[in-house]
């Protein structure tokens, strides 16, 4: 399938919104892929971290927003610490999740935690996962 | 309508060349300015600026190379420091600091030069003529030197 590249107002608005929310310049990325190379969650992802930022650069909002990757990022900042351009990809991921509405099937809801599991889980992990992945 | 007199100090390597380029490109701007070519914007002494105000200038414009491009390594940084401080002093002397403008215009930016001339003339036009007491003040300071 041939994808039509657009750089209309909608695409520009999307990119601008991501940049405002994350505080990162997505155009600084030159696609070396180091983020993906070191990402602990990459094996589970449908789009690699560098592909997410690439699609943001290209304004391909839909592809980005429906990616499972957004709900796999563990904010471990490994990508941030090794990015040669100093981009904090965890911020970009969070910005994309922020504008995602509704949050979709990959988001995480309280009903997905059984009472037994809830008794076992450390408090911090529940706060974390709802802050990051809540529906 | 009030037409201000604007004195421009232009560095030889960048802004004066840009002024020439505005000419070769036949860009038009309002004829309020007269130019003096200096080797470097850092040649401009605050005394020269005060003297220009005293002699009838309503606005003074200084043009230099962009930061990092100075022909004399770092003259424009010296200018920047000097003019930033001097603007504060101008205010203290009762001369609106907006009457003094420093711009970085490279030799390739004829258009920017022409636009700056119009924009600065417009600004000084809005500020009106440099008032007499301001002039008196300016001459006072100059004499004190």
């Amino acid at each position: 399938m041939r994808v039509k590249l657009k750089a209309g107002p909608e695409e520009r608005k999307f990119i601008q919104r991501i940049e405002e929310l994350s505080g990162e310049n997505v155009y600084a990325c030159y696609q070396c892929g180091r983020c993906s190379a070191g990402c602990p969650m990459a094996p589970e992802m449908d789009l690699l971290p560098n592909q997410i930022i690439r699609l943001v650069q290209m304004g391909m909002q839909e592809e980005v927003l429906r990616s499972k990757t957004l709900f796999l990022c563990a904010s471990c900042f490994t990508c941030q610490s090794r990015c040669p351009k100093g981009i904090d990809l965890a911020r970009v991921m969070e910005a994309v999740r922020h504008i995602l509405d509704p949050k979709g099937k990959d988001a995480f809801g309280p009903d997905e935690i059984s009472p037994e599991l809830a008794r076992e889980l450390p408090q911090q992990v529940m706060v974390s996962i709802f802050r990051k992945f809540a529906k | 309508m009030f037409e201000p007199q604007i004195m421009c100090f232009l560095c030889k390597w960048c802004t004066s060349t840009a002024a020439d380029m505005a000419g070769t490109s036949r860009l038009h701007y309002s004829p309020n300015n007269v130019n003096m070519r200096v080797m470097c914007s850092s040649r401009v002494d605050p005394q020269h600026i005060l003297y220009a105000f005293k002699e009838g200038a309503d606005g003074v414009f200084i043009g230099g190379c962009h930061p990092g491009d100075c022909h004399y390594v770092e003259g424009n940084y010296k200018t920047l420091r000097r003019i930033t401080l001097f603007k504060i002093m101008l205010g203290d002397l009762g001369i609106d600091p907006r009457r003094l403008r420093l711009e970085w215009i490279s030799a390739a930016e004829g258009k920017k030069y022409a636009e700056s001339m119009d924009a600065f003339a417009e600004q000084v036009r809005d500020l009106g003529p440099l008032r007499l007491n301001e002039k008196a003040l300016a001459s006072e300071v100059v004499k004190d030197e």
Binding site: M41, E44, A74, T78, H98, L121 | -
Partner: protein
């Protein structure tokens, strides 16, 4: 000596071992830990987008309380709390907009006069006056590892232990500044100071799977497995952590790991404070070893590997 200590929620519930061993160890160093009055959860995650800055209110309220109580340092042990408090503190120091907005949120908090019980509002702006330190940092920079060494009561005889930093202690370096993210030394220095041998292995700064263990347990299982396997392969008898979540992923879920990766025989997971407390002579019963899923008792036997000095 009194020292402000922010335990965080998990230490009061699911990771009491970390809390107890920290307190016992610090007693042995003549440091009395004081919790800030009315502390709340720090929020666990530092808000990463500009629109979520309200998430800074909770950690800043805690830090302000420390300041109100006259503290200039607060220590934490949980990596999550450490990262949130330290980053929030830095944001308040360096970002005027965040400073303004967060202080505006918190200005109307109720202040109760201890003596008259009078309720008023109007705190002074919090400007980042309190220094946030991880206990490891505190031991290195304020107590000094040689001082810790001089107070040891038990000899761990070079027990090979793998230090595990995980994510939140090291990254982002620009904001936390605890150590170099890909070449850290602090934990190793600590382990050597308490008498262990720090095992060098390449996964010490890799992620354990963090909160993804709830939404996608398989991913965290694999991530934790890789860390444990690497530590074991390099000769560690146990792995030490600072964070209750790392502990959960590697200890509580180790059965799941063994089920998935049949070649993995298991590895005890310890909190760093358990080693510290033990070496300082704390009674074994006070280490909270009952909380462990993977038995770690054998590492803390009085003889023949360790003995209490006079």
């Amino acid at each position: 000596m009194k020292l402000h200590y922010y335990p965080g929620c998990t230490l009061k519930e699911k990771a009491t071992a970390l809390d107890i061993s920290t307190r016992e160890a610090m007693k042995r160093l003549d440091i009395e830990l004081v919790e800030p009055e009315g502390w709340t959860c720090c929020g666990a995650e530092y808000p990463l987008t500009e629109e979520k800055i309200v998430g800074l209110a909770a950690p800043i309220r805690v830090l302000r309380q420390v300041r109100e109580e006259g503290g200039d340092v607060v220590v934490t042990t949980c990596s999550f709390c450490y990262a949130v408090l330290k980053r929030a503190n830095k944001a308040i120091q360096e970002d005027p907009l965040k400073h303004k907005r967060i202080n505006a949120y918190l200005r109307d908090d109720i202040k109760i006069n201890e003596r008259t019980k009078e309720r008023t509002t109007g705190f002074d702006d919090y400007n980042g006056e309190v220094k946030v330190l991880h206990l490891l940092e505190y031991l290195r920079d304020r107590v000094g590892f040689p001082n810790v060494q001089s107070r040891l009561k038990r000899d761990l005889k070079g027990l090979p232990i793998a230090p595990y930093y995980g994510c939140r202690l090291l990254r982002p370096q620009e904001e936390l500044g605890l150590d170099e993210p890909d070449n850290p030394h602090l934990f190793e220095e600590f382990l050597e100071a308490v008498g262990c041998r720090a095992v060098d292995y390449p996964f010490k700064q890799e992620c354990c799977g963090s909160y993804v263990s709830v939404s996608l347990p398989a991913a965290a299982t694999e991530a934790s497995y890789r860390v444990l396997r690497s530590a074991r392969m390099n000769g560690a008898k146990a792995i030490t952590v600072t964070c209750p979540l790392c502990f959960y992923n590697m200890d509580h879920r180790q059965d799941a790991i063994k089920e998935t990766f049949l070649d993995f025989p298991g590895l005890p997971v310890l909190f760093f404070t358990q080693l510290l407390a033990w070496a300082l002579g704390v009674d074994k019963k006070l280490l909270g070893l009952g909380e462990h899923s993977v038995p770690a008792d054998h590492l803390f036997s009085e003889s023949p590997t360790t003995e209490v000095r006079s």
